[in-house]
Symmetry: C2
Subunit: 358 residues, 2 copies
């Protein structure tokens, strides 16, 4: 039988934990050759961009594995289906595109029933209806352990409307939609109740009053409305990304791809008041929940300074900082006026085994 470097990791081999998720992607995709001039943008943004004449085609994909990306104990399949579609739709929104078609592949173990998959597909189709996306393909197969979901999405945009991670420049204003940190608080609430439930299955879950946080975690929405809103304001973002891993990690992506530094202002970060309270209850600084929590699926984008007047009164959009020259570093200015370096506390899949932790 063939020998290959898999089942054991002798000292000569490099464990995945040593290189981390982002390092690994860079390592694996660093020397890709492209053969087609139509491929405008390959790896390294929220979606690939392909030239299709007047329009650009956007392509993105996500793989969701039970026990890694979601915990079946507190994730209803209806919501899981909805969320799986939404996180992909969000990737298209992050390119300033319009989501159009998705494919869904599902692998399930035999412990699942037809009715369980019905729930999953019901959720998928609810998202398809809400966001006007066509479910056009995919397959089902068996899995030896749990549920695996792979969703791919096609989107469309006029070529000149596509927004990349790489277009920001020093002086640009950093903006974010909605509020941050609530999805993470929702996750912590669900994890807490899971532990209670495991100790005493007869206990009633104490989730009442936290609909917003639980909803943000289990049934997030994609900000497909922002494209139209910015258009109406006469603004084209210079760079954009969606917040799946947390504000810090996403800001660092924009800085890296754009070759800039940044200053975020802690007091400007939009956080829901109840989420703020809940955060203190969990002994987490609220801004840390926003910076590192992730899964809010809001949009983070930069605009030219000259667009300030157009956006300053826009509802549901906050200006939270600005880009700087790269030599000025990437930092957050805290409420008590200290400057701390931004570090990606985003998901590091190789060290992490928590659910929902991307």
């Amino acid at each position: 039988m063939s020998k290959q470097p898999t089942n054991d990791t002798p000292s000569s081999l490099t464990p995945l934990s040593e290189i981390g998720e982002f390092g690994l992607i860079e390592h694996l995709t660093g020397n890709i050759k492209l053969y087609h001039k139509e491929t405008i943008k390959g790896v390294g943004d929220d979606a690939a961009v392909i030239d299709a004449g007047e329009n650009a085609i956007l392509l993105s994909t996500d793989l969701l594995v039970e026990g890694i990306h979601f915990d079946m104990i507190y994730t209803p399949l209806l919501h899981l289906g909805y969320k799986a579609a939404v996180v992909n739709i969000s990737d298209i929104a992050a390119m300033n595109g319009i989501p159009k078609q998705i494919t869904v592949s599902v692998a399930v173990s035999s412990r699942f029933s037809v009715e369980a998959l019905d729930e999953l597909y019901k959720g998928l189709m609810m998202a398809c209806e809400r966001y006007k996306v066509d479910l056009v393909g995919g397959d089902t197969s068996s899995s030896n352990k749990g549920l695996i979901l792979s969703v791919s999405i096609l989107g469309e945009a006029k070529k000149e409307e596509v927004v990349y991670r790489s277009g920001a420049k020093s002086g640009d204003l950093i903006c974010v939609t909605g509020d941050l940190g609530s999805a993470y608080m929702g996750l912590l609430l669900l994890e807490r109740e899971k532990k209670v439930f495991q100790v005493n299955p007869d206990m009633q879950p104490e989730l009442e009053g936290y609909d917003y946080q639980i909803g943000r975690q289990l049934k997030p929405e994609a900000r497909t409305d922002i494209r139209e809103k910015l258009k109406q304001l006469g603004i084209k973002p210079t760079s954009m990304i969606d917040i799946s891993d947390g504000l810090a990690s996403e800001t660092l992506h924009l800085c890296k791809q754009s070759g800039t530094g940044c200053r975020l202002y802690e007091e400007k970060i939009p956080i829901n008041p109840q989420t703020r309270e809940l955060s203190m209850e969990f002994k987490i600084i609220p801004s840390v929940a926003a910076l590192s929590g992730g899964e809010d699926y809001e949009l983070l984008f930069t605009i030219d300074q000259s667009d300030y007047d157009k956006i300053k009164d826009a509802e549901d959009i906050s200006i939270i900082g600005h880009m700087t020259g790269s030599e000025e570093g990437k930092a957050m200015v805290t409420s008590d006026n200290k400057q701390i370096e931004l570090t990606a506390q985003g998901w590091d899949g190789m060290k992490d085994d928590g659910a929902g932790s991307r």
Copy 2:
């Protein structure tokens, strides 16, 4: 915690085994609503077809799960990467399209090393180079068990060149490229050696002399050459599909989508002589290996009778039967002139736990 129909299957719920793979897909995707007029073809072919002006965009996706679709004991990661790309490329070939871009998502457990993933990507990129396909995206994440690979592919074709499963009519000739059954014999050889290896790890594997069959299983190729070949012959197939599940299953797909019956002729089915011998050694009728084995990734297509003269001397293409009216049923005429009903022995994922058995 939420209650949902998953972990237990009480009598009121339907086990997946009761409905089977094809039944399940139909059940889940039966009432899909489409919102975009650009979506020409959704679920139900080798790829979705999307109107992009003069051209059509083709989209397909495949999910590969360790222990279900491949066995790491005899699948080198280099080959796995290559094959994962090829099976998707084959889907585009089956639509008479040109493969263009792929995305690859990988989930791995921590037992894998960076070097192991390097091998996988090396294989992927070998296929990308061979077939001139751009690797444009995807991600890596962790898995709690083994390796999961999800590949999506975009292809392109002029709208009028796209070939669907549904265009065949009574009287059309059924053709197949290359030869069939060898990939399955390769699988059986590998499975046999695996058993020997498990009993005595010091035994040398007896695979010598079977390079063709092993190669067909571990490193299949996609018939992207057929599109150009048929064009040169002046033929546009009336229907087409690639052979991933076996000749019987794929023929039935064409019949079902086209609303026809069919007659296949056993003696016309192209089978490699060594594969024929090997098949007898394994006590399997060679035509059964071709009908049910799968994974040959040859193309099965139908052409108008009037194209017979154009194709009759074409190298590497066999005419193996013809379509009939649906009332005449779907049957194979055996070498001793008996007529047997065609049944899909293709992969039934809910009952099957064998590796490589799709």
